[in-house]
Symmetry: C2
Subunit: 333 residues, 2 copies
């Protein structure tokens, strides 16, 4: 019987360790504890304030779990959910250590969604294969709305000339750090200085583009630099956390394009006051033309945690090595 | 390097045989010949009118291909595209023969999309595994819009309570046999008699429901019988092929529901005169709620051929055995 034809509920629980308990890691951990088919066996963080405490208290679960946060991973788990950083070079040694211990790894590291650093990718590949495990970078963006979902919808096309991927996210409903991170309430000059300093940038847009190109079987002739521009408020916008005056920055407009046999454009608008226009959209020019829309768009943080947890049963059944979201089927579990 | 990170174009062409050259098989074959990464090595049909002819002439390609239609498959191919029937028991012996010859099989057989006949499924499983090949049933419906696409979008959810899957297809833009098949221009009595005789029924709706349930990890407590009702015209509708008077049947409304930990409903409306409302829609009640729409809906026949061909590179990289669309990533190639 195909593995897919047994339900998760009929199996022994999958043992999972949470590695990294920042805001996203905590969201993942809360979700892990809600799944009857998962048995959380460890939780790891470097924060001395968290080490030694029950993870239920650390993540606000409202109950003890019996799992105490440790500085090092000292338990074997089938799968490790890794959430400690966005940059591959910052987390590569952690990832290799986890693979070497024989665990599959599902990570929110944005650069892992399509590892562009050939050297690190090869190291991960060798370590994963040597230990007969798989590693997957996922999340909602990168990992789904601007790569996996667009790729999936193109499957009905006989021909594809270009793909436009547009994500308009209303930052008003997101947490305060996110609103600050997109530049809301800055002046345009402050915004441009923050961009120049590398402080305003959605991570993973290039990885999404390359993941889409790879899935479509296209090697782009050229890929633009990412362009990061302010979206300026034309009215006062008030959120739970801040106020934006007309002329101030409401958020960020970030784009990247790949040109080739198939042109692919990614456009991300993330700003406060976008309630009426928020959506995720994929427009395929081909045979047939396709226009897909997710009304209101898919909320970032909660969906990233969902993606990670929903990928757990999938990575258990996938081939070993470095995977991308294009390699696996995925759904709620 | 992960297999996914080499592009199709960089590989030796995949050898493909087309098995069955009816309307869908011919559409698949035309698409196969447009792909530089595919080398068509054989074409098989039982029709004496086609046997011995160049397949280019049979499918209206406008050129000779050098591939002559034969009654039996006498060449080894990496992948066989199989399109001869909707019912698993009618085609099971063909499928087993193809697998036994060491070819992967991608088939439009609707009942193969989620094989409910345990005995046939097990036979296919054993034959596929013994020969180190995979077999996959696909198409646009079943195979994508009412199963793979809904499953995929649920991946962003932390919780799912119910899924509504609605496909409204405008039969006015489809070929004449399809318009006749949905009952367009029948009286209501004729329609009901045709339903009772098993002549009006979209194949694969139950398979789509079970594929969704399986992907979500749900065993339904109960599944309704499929309900097939006429959609009655409230105005005159004229297509290229027929005319429907008010009070006559414009098409079919077919539904099925699964009840369980997660409720899933599938609703298919396929009728002439649906131009203004045609769409594919997925509504997920969960955390978060999701509303996805493909505007105008995805056209049936062309998309089915696309799905088959786009699955070819995917089945080459998948695990062996009986696969469903939930087991593979998919995109245009």
């Amino acid at each position: 019987m195909p593995a897919a034809m047994t339900t998760a509920s009929s199996r022994t629980p999958i043992t999972v360790a949470q590695f990294g308990i920042g805001p996203i890691g905590a969201e993942i951990a809360r979700l892990l504890f809600s799944k009857p088919w998962i048995h959380v066996v460890a939780a790891v963080d470097i924060d001395p304030e968290k080490i030694g405490k029950d993870i239920g208290d650390v993540i606000g679960l409202g109950r003890k779990t019996g799992v105490v946060v440790t500085r090092e991973l000292d338990v074997k788990a089938d799968v490790v959910c890794h959430s400690t950083g966005s940059r591959l070079r910052d987390v590569a040694s952690q990832l290799k250590m986890l693979l070497a211990r024989g665990s599959h790894v599902v990570s929110t590291c944005e650069e892992l969604s399509f590892p562009l650093d050939a050297e690190i990718r090869e190291e991960l590949q060798q370590t994963a294969r040597a230990n007969n495990v798989a590693i997957l970078g996922t999340g909602v963006n990168p990992g789904f709305v601007m790569d996996k979902l667009p790729l999936t919808i193109t499957a009905v096309c006989q021909e594809v000339r270009s793909v436009e991927i547009i994500r308009i996210q209303n930052a008003s409903t997101r947490r305060e750090p996110l609103q600050r991170k997109v530049g809301a309430s800055m002046t345009v000059d402050e915004f441009r200085a923050a961009v120049a300093a590398g402080k305003i940038k959605h991570m993973g847009l290039r990885e999404s583009l390359m993941l889409v190109g790879n899935g479509l079987g296209v090697e782009f002739d050229s890929v633009t630099d990412e362009v990061i521009e302010p979206i300026v408020a034309d009215r006062e916008i008030v959120t739970q956390y801040l106020k934006v005056a007309p002329g101030q920055v409401a958020g960020v407009h970030q784009t990247i394009y790949g040109k080739g046999r198939i042109d692919v454009s990614l456009e991300l608008r993330m700003y406060v006051g976008a309630e009426d226009v928020a959506a995720d959209r994929v427009i395929v020019h081909g045979v047939p033309d396709i226009e897909l829309e997710v009304k209101g768009g898919i909320h970032g943080d909660r969906a990233t945690a969902a993606m990670v947890v929903n990928c757990i049963p999938r990575i258990m059944q996938a081939r070993v090595g470095v995977l991308t979201m294009d390699d696996v089927g995925v759904s709620f579990r």
